[in-house]
Structures are given as structure tokens and as C-alpha cells.
Amino acid sequence: MRALLAASKQPVVVNVWGSWCAPCRSEAPLLRAAHADAGDDVRFVGVAVRDSQGPAREFIDEYGLGGFEHYFDRPSRVPADLGGRGVPITFFFAAGGELVETHNGIIDERTLALQIDELLAR
């Protein structure tokens, strides 16, 4: 993940989720809307943690998140490496991999829009 972030020429939003996580279901439509709104300028990456492939794929289909890149991280190593704890969690990285913001817990529309605006203004 670190290599992906460092190589990215676009800002990256990394959302850590699980199909078993109720708050993740609540924020999934917001992430889909954000991707539709800013997906040309910002790269969206989902990381499914402590999950199984089947339910994770169903979650992606159910909430229309197929437009993102998704990675499967059963032992939850990626969020730990990025410095976050818990699920859901959303990281905002500038182009080149600089961490701009970590949002622990459910993200709301205003916060998501504001942080994306911050990334694009850099």
C-alpha cells in the first residue's frame, strides 16, 4: 500500500471497511457519491479487513463500489501500517503519499467533501 501511495500522481482516499461492519454500510453510499463527484481527480481505494471474499464481494456489488480499487486484507495489516485503528477508517493522502488526514469512525458527507476539497486544493 505504501508503494501504491508513493507512486500515485493523484491524491488518494483509502477507506478501510468490512462487510460485517454496520457503520461501513452507512458510509458506503457517501463514498460512492464522492467517487462519482471527484473520481476523475482523486483515486479511491477500499481495503476490506477481517472479512471473507464472498461477503466482501457482495458488499461491493450491493453498494455499487465497483468503481474503486479494492484490496483484501484479512489480517488488517494495511490500516495498522498506515497508523489507524478500528473500522471504518478513512485516510486522505496527497499525491506522492503524504498523509493529510486520518478520519476514525463513520465519515459524514461534509467531512468527506471538505477533506477531498483540501486534497484537490494542494
Binding site: A22, S26, P29, E62, Y63, E101, E109, L112, A113, E118
Partner: protein, 239 residues
């Protein structure tokens, strides 16, 4: 679990209760069988449930198959349906005393909304679109200064609440103040909405509809003031 929304709700409730008490001490109580505080809080809770259910359904989550998700309030409450739900619950609870109770709750509700928006200070969620104005400030670690849009909204709601308090002392026809307060609340949101970052929202159209609905309610109350006043001569104390 994040509890900062609860702090904002607490500030709103304290502001609402404070104005209700202030009005009562001034001898300007509702003079209704229903209590303004009870009705207001019940309406707010009904609005919260309506808004949460609407947010879930609009997001594609079935509340019947995932009832536990209803409690994840932080996951989103649809503003429009929450407002409609709260107003409908208020009307149902107030019944034939709606005009008088709406007038009595007007200033308190506007003060509560001021408290809710000022509660952004607990949530670090006051900022909106970029601005170079002297009072604009930036997120921690950022050099992009922004409008403190939620504080603008709070200030406008305080002004509206104060105006409602003053207007009530002039004894407008029953229902007029309630209608104007609804229009004012929607107007404040409509005025500040362009300064909020959003993900392709249609809220301004709904707020404009709210302004029109409030003004229409006030106009109807004024037009039929004699009829409404006659009906209010005998308060229904539920006996």
C-alpha cells in the same frame, strides 16, 4: 464511537429549553394544554427517526432487514425527511392547538437550531468553502482558510430567534409567527448552503420550498386569523 453529535444536540436542547423557560418567566407561556418543551423534544426525536430511516432507504439499506443500523445515527440523517417528520409530529401532537403552540415554540426552535449549528465547535466541523475573509480560518495542518459557515448559520439563527421573541410581544395573529419562523429557518439554511462543501446535493431546492411553505402557512394564518382565534378561545386541556 463518536459522541460529538450528542454534544451538539445537548447545546441545542439547552438553548431550546432556555428560551422556553425565559418566555415562561416573562409571562409569555404557551397557554396550551400541551407543554412546548415536551412537544418540541418529541417532535425532534420523531424527526431524527424519520431522517435516519429515510437516509437508510435512500442509501439502499433496508431498515427491516438491518434494524440495528437505525441506531447508527452518525451514519447519516436525511435533513429534508427529518424536518418533515419533526413538523408532522409537532402538528399531530399539537392538534387543534397547533397555531398557538407553533408560535410559542418559534423562538425556542430557532434558538435550538442556533445551538445545534454552534455545536460544530465540539465536532471540529464549522468550516465550509475556501475564503480570504479576515475571520476565515484553516483546518489544522492546512493553509487553506475557509468560511466558518456553521457559525454564520448559528449567528443568523440567534438573530432570527431574537426577532421572534420581540415579535411575540406584539401578539401577532395565531400561527403567523410559527409560519414566519419556519420560513426563516429554511432561509438561513438556504443562504448558507452554498458555503458548505457537499457531494452533489439538491438541498437548496428543498430549503426554498421550506421558505415558501412557511410563508404560505403565515399568510393562511393571517387570512383566517378571526376563525383561528375563535377556535382558540377555549383551550383543550384534555379533560
Amino acid at each position: 464511537m463518536e459522541f460529538t453529535l450528542l454534544w451538539a444536540a445537548l447545546v441545542a436542547a439547552i438553548a431550546f429549553y432556555g428560551v422556553v423557560r425565559w418566555e415562561a418567566r416573562r409571562g409569555n407561556a404557551a397557554d396550551c394544554s400541551r407543554d412546548v418543551w415536551d412537544t418540541g423534544i418529541a417532535a425532534a426525536l420523531a424527526g431524527l427517526v424519520a431522517g435516519r430511516l429515510a437516509a437508510m432507504i435512500l442509501a439502499g439499506t433496508n431498515p427491516l432487514t438491518r434494524p440495528g443500523d437505525i441506531l447508527v445515527v452518525r451514519g447519516g440523517v436525511d435533513t429534508v425527511w427529518a424536518s418533515i417528520g419533526a413538523l408532522a409530529a409537532f402538528a399531530v401532537l399539537a392538534r387543534r392547538e397547533l397555531a398557538r403552540l407553533a408560535d410559542a415554540a418559534a423562538a425556542a426552535a430557532l434558538a435550538g437550531l442556533a445551538g445545534w449549528h454552534a455545536g460544530c465547535l465540539f465536532r471540529d466541523a464549522c468550516l465550509g468553502t475556501p475564503s480570504d475573509l479576515p475571520w476565515a480560518y484553516a483546518l489544522p495542518g492546512s493553509d487553506i482558510t475557509r468560511h466558518p459557515v456553521e457559525l454564520y448559520a448559528a449567528a443568523l439563527f440567534v438573530i432570527a430567534a431574537f426577532a421572534a421573541l420581540v415579535a411575540r410581544r406584539r401578539f401577532p395573529p395565531p400561527g403567523v409567527l410559527g409560519g414566519v419562523a419556519l420560513a426563516a429557518a429554511a432561509a438561513v439554511r438556504l443562504a448558507t448552503e452554498p458555503l458548505r462543501p457537499a457531494l452533489g446535493t439538491s438541498l437548496p431546492a428543498w430549503y426554498a420550498a421550506g421558505v415558501l411553505a412557511g410563508l404560505a402557512a403565515a399568510a393562511i394564518a393571517f387570512k383566517f386569523r378571526a376563525l383561528i382565534s375563535d377556535k382558540l378561545q377555549e383551550p383543550d386541556y384534555g379533560t
